[in-house]
């Protein structure tokens, strides 16, 4: 294996994981932008989305069969939609039960944090009880093989599916936030919730939309993640922390920043894990985070944020 091939392979691997981090990081960053609140239960939204997609695709694919062609594409899409819906439902429930009552009563920020941790513990323990504590694989929805070779690096069907889906979702969110009326109200609430409210923006609706949007992304991301790494009740924790890191790295509250942070984190992990030792992957990733924050405390693309809702 030549070194150019090596570099190309590691880049592709890094971008693949990075794209997943980015998809989850968007959920953190959107909610933070609007509420200036870290939604620590977001990792559980990701996990529940993965199970949603998993059970949906298991219901359609008979054991041992490997579909092909259009059926595969349809099944992947179906799994993604099911995952996204499960994620959105979880995020909505979370907002409804863990955050809204606190916001109504004007609770201090710390109360949200405790509420989030409580919701997270509740969700993953319940999942462990209901879905079992073993890892569960997503059934094969397509024949995984090498599709194309870029500079000697082989790209598998699975990587391609992940990359395309993640890219499509990231573009869609970027367009939604930057170019639609709904996005405009999200941005308005992020800049100054009180003013936005006075101007006629339904702040409560914007908050729900933000949570649901984050849930859709995390749910679909969870399904993509489970296709490669299997689903388990504790699966949310590490990717959740990584995505949070990516959001901070890119500048929390900034949508494009989250994408940049996710991809960068993926690349650093991929190269770091190869050059040093796979076990040092996290050490290297977090060293980079600290270094970036020393130079740019608000993250790569971070800017001042407005008044929270």
């Amino acid at each position: 294996m030549g070194s150019a091939e090596q570099i190309s392979q590691l880049t592709i691997d890094g971008l693949m994981v990075g794209a997943l981090y980015a998809v989850i990081a968007l959920g953190y960053t959107l909610v933070y932008g609007v509420l200036q609140l870290i939604n620590f239960a977001h990792s559980e939204v990701f996990m529940l989305g993965a199970f949603g997609g998993l059970f949906a695709s298991r219901a359609l694919v008979p054991a041992g069969a490997t579909p092909s062609g259009l059926t595969s594409a349809g099944l992947v899409l179906f799994g993604l939609v099911a995952g996204a819906l499960a994620g959105a439902a979880a995020a909505y429930a979370l907002e409804r039960c863990a955050y809204r009552p606190l916001r109504r009563r004007g609770a201090p920020r710390l109360a949200y944090l405790i509420s989030a941790i409580g919701a997270s513990l509740f969700a993953f323990n319940l999942a462990g009880k209901e879905f079992g504590r073993q890892s569960i694989p997503v059934p094969d929805l397509f024949t995984n093989g090498t599709v194309v070779t870029v500079l000697g690096a082989e790209i598998s069907t699975q990587s391609l599916v992940i990359a395309c889906t993640a890219l499509a979702m990231l573009l869609a969110v970027d367009h939604l936030v930057a170019g639609t009326r709904l996005g405009q109200s999200v941005r308005a609430v992020a800049q100054d919730a009180e003013c936005a409210g006075l101007m006629g923006v339904d702040v409560q609706k914007v908050i729900v939309v933000t949570f649901v949007l984050g849930g859709l992304l995390a749910g679909a991301g969870g399904f993509l993640y489970a296709m490669t790494f299997n689903a388990s009740y504790t699966m949310g924790f590490v990717p959740g922390i990584k995505a949070f890191t990516a959001a901070v790295l890119g500048g929390i509250g900034n949508v494009r920043g989250a994408v940049l942070g996710g991809l960068l984190l993926g690349l650093v992990e991929s190269f770091g894990g190869y050059l040093f030792d796979a076990s040092y992957k996290n050490v290297i990733a977090f060293t980079v985070l600290v270094l970036v924050l020393l130079v740019r405390p608000s993250g790569l693309l971070g800017t001042r944020l407005g008044r929270p809702a």
């Binding site: 294996m1 090596q6 392979q9 590691l10 691997d13 994981v17 200036q36 870290i38 620590f40 041992g64 490997t66 944090l113 941790i117 997270s120 513990l121 993953f124 323990n125 462990g128 504590r133 073993q134 890892s135 569960i136 694989p137 094969d140 995984n144 093989g145 090498t146 082989e154 598998s156 699975q158 990587s159 490669t228 790494f229 299997n230 388990s232 504790t234 699966m235 924790f237 922390i241 949070f244 901070v248 500048g251 929390i252 509250g253 992990e269 991929s270 894990g273 190869y274 030792d277 796979a278 076990s279 992957k281 924050l293 405390p297 608000s298 993250g299 971070g302 800017t303 001042r304 944020l305």
Partner: protein
């Protein structure tokens, strides 16, 4: 306020600390469930002496299946002895969950030690918790017989109440190396371990065997993770034509997936920690196809000498087939029962421990006789292969290497 990330960072860590605590809580709940489950089997007739046999192993967590396999083996032996053994006492099991991790080992052991009716323990199941728990067992003089802790060093650490009915990984490693050299005909082997007590012991043994056989190898270790992508790239770059993973099935499954998706075409092998059908399930049958597993254990389901055990096991465990370590746990329990039978109702922790070294009886997995250090005498290493989504026994290494 700017989006300063300094405030949230400690919060991240706090969430991280809380999670293991929740795991413990969940684990305790599981033990509770297990206790109630086996509590139903005891006959509490008035006046009948009752002895408790402890069980320590992972009953929750990522690798719980191996613990459950062993527990069901213990259950089978105890149930059979109570029903048909003609014993002057009744037996009951007390299970203690260590989740297969060393941190939980001492707590799980202490729970059994503190119960004065426990006369002997089957377990611990995994090597790392064994190393962490044995000092406590030795101190108290409570016999513990592991069905499956294969880390070689365990019998050299001066533990005075530790026995195991499975051969140490020195035996398995030598067998695996011989198989790699003569049957797989590997030119270069990538020996990867999970950095656990068990993994490093096995990888060291495999590498010593490879060195003797003149096969080149690369040693590497990786803590269990979900993402084996960069590890797979590293293996591909190394040019090894065989990978031997020393670790447990849930990690080996993900490693296999990563290697297959990179198109690795060399041989993929692992040891007894991966010898469970969960491996095939989690890796996906297509990915697992053709991979090889070594184990110093035969498969009770296909061994004609073990048919009695298999049918008894199925009867006790509502139709389940014995899994990896079920037979060993059954043998370990029967070894303890044979000593209790001899000692009768007057048996104590001291007398059970004192008499255990001279146990000699035909078990379902092997003849159970011990060396002075607590290792079981002799043992054959078997090779398994995944064929059509099923684990099948190819045979013992000694006969497979014959031309």
């Amino acid at each position: 306020m700017t989006g300063s990330p300094r405030t949230p960072r400690p919060r991240t860590r706090r969430a991280g600390v809380l999670r293991p605590v929740a795991g413990v809580v969940a684990g305790l709940a599981m033990v509770g469930a297990a206790l109630t489950a086996c509590g139903g089997g005891d006959s509490n007739e008035a006046g009948t002496k009752e002895f408790l046999i402890g069980f320590q192993g992972p009953l929750s967590g990522e690798n719980q299946q191996l613990g459950i396999n062993a527990y069901n083996g213990v259950l089978t032996a105890v149930d059979l002895a109570n029903r048909t053994g003609g014993l002057p006492f009744t037996l009951r099991i007390v299970a203690s969950d260590d989740q297969g991790v060393p941190e939980q080992g001492p707590t799980a052991a202490q729970k059994l030690i503190d119960n004065p009716d426990v006369v002997a323990v089957v377990g611990p199941v995994f090597s790392a918790p064994t190393k962490a728990s044995e000092p406590l067992y030795s101190q108290t003089g409570l016999l513990s017989v592991s069905p499956s802790a294969t880390a070689p060093a365990l019998t050299d650490l001066g533990f005075t109440s530790f026995y195991r009915v499975i051969a140490p990984d020195t035996v398995q490693g030598a067998g695996a190396a011989e198989y790699l050299a003569k049957v797989v005909k590997a030119k270069r082997v990538y020996s990867l371990d999970d950095r656990s007590e068990y993994g490093t012991g096995l990888s060291g043994a495999v590498e010593r065997g490879l060195k003797q056989a003149g096969v080149a190898y690369t040693h590497d270790g990786i803590n269990p993770t979900k993402d084996y992508t960069s590890q797979a790239t590293k293996i591909m770059a190394d040019g090894a034509d065989a990978v031997y993973y020393s670790g447990y099935y849930s990690d080996f499954a993900l490693l296999t997936k990563a290697l297959r998706s990179k198109g690795y075409d060399g041989a993929i092998l692992s040891g007894d920690g991966s010898n469970d059908d969960q491996y095939i399930r989690q890796a996906g049958a297509a990915n697992a196809e053709g991979t090889l597993i070594t184990c110093p254990c035969s498969d009770a389901n296909t061994d004609p000498a073990a048919t009695g055990f298999v049918s008894e096991y199925k009867k006790v465990n509502s139709g389940l087939k014995p899994g990896t370590y079920s037979g060993e746990a059954y043998d370990a329990t029967n070894a303890i029962i044979s000593v209790l039978r001899k000692l009768g109702t007057g048996a104590s922790r001291e007398s059970v421990l004192a008499d255990f070294g001279s146990v000699d009886f035909p078990g379902v997995t092997k003849r159970i006789r011990f060396e002075r250090n607590g290792d079981v005498q002799g043992s054959t290493v078997y090779v398994y292969q995944v064929k059509d989504g099923q684990r099948v026994v190819l045979g013992p290494v000694s006969s497979l290497v014959k031309p």
